[in-house]
Amino acid sequence: MDASNYLYISALLFTIGAVGVVVRRNAIVVFMCIELMLNAANLSFVTFSRINGDLNGQIMAFFTMVVAACEVVVGLAIIVTIYRSRRSASVDDASLLKR
């Protein structure tokens, strides 16, 4: 089957993720959407590596996973701290800084 379909899927996932970031309130969910976008990127990497017959894309995917993992660590740390001090994980509550 045509590999480009995977590209469409990844594009779709990316869009879903992006929209999710904008529409969801819960910090965790927002973060998950971002992860979704990253993985969409990964999918396209892998697809392209398949299309181009080149392995680097897949290597890239692995790196991305590692980095994503780091991101999770940092991100959760931040979200948890703020949750503890605010008793809420809604990103809309965190709007002290504006104008």
Binding site: V21, V22, S95, L97
Partner: protein
């Protein structure tokens, strides 16, 4: 042309006096007035010396010049500070320094009680210097310096008692209206330079024939405006009446004898221009004629003795201007009347001053009366001046004025008849108002205020009056004996042999003139000697009198046409500057400010909206690239 190194002293002496007294300050109070008088006298001496020299030389060798230094020298615009003394300017030099000195003497006593007397004398000297520069300058530009110099001196002297707001205003008015005239002079100079490439009298004189009449006419008109400004001619006459605010000696020297005649000098000096520009010349005549009547009419209604005299000055200068406008034939007579007028009018002003001196500075003639017995000398000298101005033979005015009337008639055609009759009529009216002055002041019954105890003035004051009186008796006869003055000035004005079509014989003219004078005197007698004079001006008078009292509405006119609109313009401009121009600038600032605060709203603090913005940005970016690529 021969040169003389001593010309500069004419100016330098009084100028030094002015500088010394002004910088010296109170230290010089003791002797300041004496020094000033001495310097002015010595300047007169130099003048006499120059005259004797001049008489010693042959006609064409008479003019002398002196180059002082290179003044303004840019490209083709080269003006040296140079002096020129010829038959014309010598007349003025002697008049200025002579009468000037007399008035210095008079002022010593007249101003003796004023604690600023020194400054007064400093200004007098300054005036003498400036006036001499005016008549000695060898180019229009150096004349200009003197021209504004006398304006300044006149401003300072009119406003000498400027603690009185009215006086301060009068001086300002004089200066500003003079500046309008000066503007004309500068235009004339610009035209001269642009068209003939020179601004010296000699240069212009020889360029005249290569220059189009249009240009010359323009220049002539501008010169006329200048003359009108200085000599209080129509339409720039309004300042002279108010100028009487100055101390009386000032009125005598500046606003009767010398400065106000500068216009006549300018026109005669520029004879070559006017002779080549008939239109301009005609305008000169017209201005002269109008002013002649204008002044005379105002004179009939004035109760303030000085203002009456001022009006008469205006009208007499009208005569001179008119004469000067009649071309070569007229110049000499204009000058002659100028000289005689210098004597009798100055004399009468000093007389008026002496009267005021005796009457606690009262100027309203309705509060005089019967002063003949109390100040006989003043009466005598004033009387002689009176006869002179009337033109009663053999007094000075008779010769000078009749000449003008006669020339006016001989101007030819309708022009001649009109001008002749105007001058005649003027003579009649002059007779009327001068007689009025005489009667109101010296005859009739006392109408004084209680505290007035008139007395004759000290000799320092009456001596100059006497001298001037002698002048007003003899000068006319002397100047016209064997056409002395005419021949003296003759070489300056080129005469295309004038076609002597005598419209009227001289004798007839004299007859007519005397008749007019007689009528004028008679009316005056009937009006003021037969019946009692109210010591406050009656209100139930003819419209005409009312108008005449208000100087024929001249101030109303200026106010309505220039002052009010000017003030309106000024205020509006001020407002516009604040609102529109500066407003625009501030507006731009405001715009930036407000748009800044508006955009600030985007930063609403919600991370999701930021993300949305990024998302939108991403889409926009793609779109933009898409557009670019297509």
């Amino acid at each position: 042309m021969n040169t003389s190194q001593s010309l500069v002293y004419l100016i330098a002496l009084p100028l030094a006096g002015a500088a010394l007294l002004l910088l010296g300050g109170r230290r010089t109070d003791k002797w300041g007035h004496l020094l000033a008088t001495a310097l002015s006298a010595s300047s007169f001496g130099v003048g006499l010396y120059q005259l004797s020299q001049m008489l010693g030389r042959s006609t064409e060798a008479r003019p002398v010049s002196q180059k002082l230094f290179e003044w303004i020298n840019v490209g083709t615009f080269n003006v040296d500070a140079g002096l020129l003394l010829d038959q014309l300017s010598i007349c003025f030099v002697l008049l200025i320094t002579g009468v000037g000195t007399l008035i210095h003497v008079y002022s010593i006593s007249y101003m003796s009680h004023d604690h600023d007397r020194r400054r007064f004398f400093a200004f007098l000297n300054l005036f003498i210097a400036a006036m001499l520069l005016l008549v000695l300058g060898d180019s229009y530009l150096s004349l200009y310096v003197g021209w504004e110099g006398v304006g300044l001196a006149s401003y300072l002297l009119i406003g000498f008692w400027n603690q009185k707001p009215a006086y301060a205003t009068a001086s300002k008015k004089a200066f500003v209206m003079n500046r309008v005239g000066d503007m004309g002079l500068s235009f004339a100079i610009m035209i001269a330079f642009a068209t003939m490439g020179t601004v010296s009298f000699a240069g212009v004189a020889e360029q005249v024939e290569n220059t189009s009449e249009a240009a010359l006419t323009g220049m002539g008109i501008m010169l006329l405006i200048a003359a009108a400004g200085k000599s209080a001619q129509f339409p720039l006459q309004a300042w002279l009446g108010d100028a009487m605010a100055g101390p009386t000696p000032v009125s005598a020297l500046i606003h009767a004898a010398t400065m106000v005649t500068a216009g006549v000098y300018l026109i005669t000096r520029s004879n070559f221009v006017f002779d080549a520009a008939p239109t301009a010349q005609l305008l000169v005549v017209i201005v002269g004629a109008i002013t002649l009547m204008f002044g005379a009419l105002i004179g009939t209604a004035k109760d303030d003795i000085k203002k009456a005299l001022a009006a008469s000055t205006m009208s007499q200068i009208g005569y001179m201007i008119l004469a000067a406008g009649l071309g070569p034939v007229g110049y000499a007579f204009a000058i002659m009347h100028l000289l005689t007028h210098g004597f009798f009018k100055a004399g009468m002003f000093l007389g008026a001053g002496s009267v005021m001196h005796g009457m606690n500075d009262e100027v309203n003639m309705r509060k005089y009366g019967a002063l003949r017995k109390f100040m006989p000398i003043t009466f005598a000298t004033f009387g002689l001046g009176y006869l002179a101005i009337l033109g009663v033979p053999p007094f000075a005015g008779f010769y000078s004025k009749d000449m003008i009337i006669e020339t006016a008639f001989n101007a030819g055609g309708v022009k001649g008849i009109i001008l002749g009759s105007v001058t005649l009529l003027g003579a009649g009216i002059t007779a009327f108002y001068m007689t009025r002055v005489m009667i109101l002041t010296f005859t009739g019954t006392k109408r004084w205020d209680e505290d007035a105890h008139p007395h004759e003035s000290p000799w320092l004051m009456w001596l100059p009056m006497a001298v001037l009186a002698i002048g007003s008796v003899t000068s006319g006869f002397l100047l016209s004996r064997g056409d002395a003055l005419v021949n003296w000035l003759h070489p300056l004005f080129e005469h295309h042999e004038e076609h002597e079509h005598h419209l009227l014989e001289p004798i007839v003219v004299s007859g007519l003139a005397l008749t007019m004078v007689a009528i004028g005197v008679a009316i005056a007698f009937v009006k003021y000697s037969r019946q009692e004079v109210a010591n406050i001006a009656p209100e139930n008078v003819s419209v005409f009198t009312k108008i005449a009292r208000q100087d024929l509405m001249q101030d109303r006119f200026n106010e309505a046409v220039f002052m009010r609109p000017g003030q309106a313009l000024t205020t509006t401009l001020g407002a516009t500057d604040e609102a529109v121009i500066d407003g625009t600038v501030r507006g731009v600032g405001q715009l930036a400010m407000s748009s800044g605060s508006a955009l600030r709203g985007l930063q609403n603090g919600f991370v999701r909206s930021y993300a949305a913005l990024i998302l939108v940005g991403a889409v926009a970016l793609i779109a933009a690239i898409w557009v670019v690529v297509q």
